[in-house]
């Protein structure tokens, strides 16, 4: 089985004492300590409207249903500080200017995120909403 490792190094001097966290995890399938995730999808997309759209439909995930377990990495590679993506979850309704069903947060220029994704069914699609319509690039990798 393939072995994929994700390491995070988080450091901050916000407080009077610094905070430093370093952790590593192997991307295993659900409830397993031996069976590594064995499929990967790497995507770079250009979004040219401010509509919310599916970034990843649940059907793209290799593990779905009640025991679905995947990992999703998303990056906003913009270098313009004010440009962001709103990230959320919901059902696809095509190009929609409405509110994301459940919004997670704002991914600003240079920011990345790494989350487990259950991809249970069509109400769990990963939605994205660019802040500008001038060809914003988004990158993501999906491990299942």
């Amino acid at each position: 089985m393939p072995t994929t490792t994700a390491n995070i190094s988080l450091s901050s001097d916000i407080g009077d004492s610094s905070v430093s966290i370093a952790n590593s995890m192997t991307l295993f399938k659900a409830a397993s300590a031996t069976e590594g995730m064995d499929t990967m999808k790497s995507v770079r997309k250009i979004l040219s409207s401010t509509y919310q759209v599916d970034l990843a439909a649940y059907t793209e995930a290799g593990s779905t249903g009640s025991t679905g377990h995947n990992f999703l990495y998303i990056k906003n590679p913009s270098t313009v500080a004010g440009e962001f993506f709103r990230i959320g979850f919901g059902s696809s309704s095509g190009n929609d200017s409405g509110v994301i069903v459940e919004e997670l947060g704002y991914l600003y220029a240079g920011d990345w995120m790494m989350i487990p994704w259950s991809a249970v069914d069509g109400t769990y699609d990963v939605m994205i909403w660019p802040s500008v319509s001038t060809d914003m690039v988004v990158e993501y990798m999906l491990f299942s």
């Binding site: 994929t4 995070i8 905070v19 295993f28 409830a31 994301i100 997670l104 995120m113 487990p116």
Partner: protein, 142 residues
């Protein structure tokens, strides 16, 4: 002040060629260049296997912000998991962290009901989290 997070993703054998991704973010307040200036760190035992509100309801929900959240399931048992949920109008349990796994994501609590909640698969699972935020007045008034 500066807060940074570096991710490295590596695999020698998930594809025909090695995968090696490395990226670093320096966290600033929404849309600008001012460093984030508030942080909360906790290691907790989640107690019973019921929903737990992770971040207190903010006085400033639905504001544009650049808040970030790091969560790790400290269990060493691969079958023990923590479900992460956005407890909004419909409620989306979007992912599970099994023993030893972590997540890092932006979180802006987009409405009064949009709390982040965690649901342990069994009683007694330890978890740690770091919340990097720019909200002011997050503590409830007495």
């Amino acid at each position: 002040m500066a807060t940074t997070a570096t991710l490295t993703l590596t695999s020698a054998d998930i594809a025909g060629d090695p995968v090696n991704v490395s990226t670093t973010s320096t966290f600033t307040k929404a849309g600008g260049t001012v460093d984030m200036d508030q942080i909360s760190y906790m290691k907790v035992n989640l107690g019973s296997a019921t929903d737990k509100v992770l971040i207190p309801a903010s006085h400033e929900y639905n504001t544009v912000n650049s808040n970030k959240l790091y969560i790790k399931n400290l269990s060493t048992v691969s079958t023990e998991y923590i479900t992460i949920k956005i407890e909004g109008s419909t409620g989306i349990p979007f992912g599970k962290l099994y023993g030893g796994q972590w997540a890092f994501f932006p979180y802006n609590q987009n409405d009064a009901a949009g709390l982040i909640e965690v649901l342990p698969s069994k009683a007694g699972i330890d978890m740690e989290y770091v919340w990097i935020h720019e909200n002011v007045d997050i503590l409830a008034d007495d």
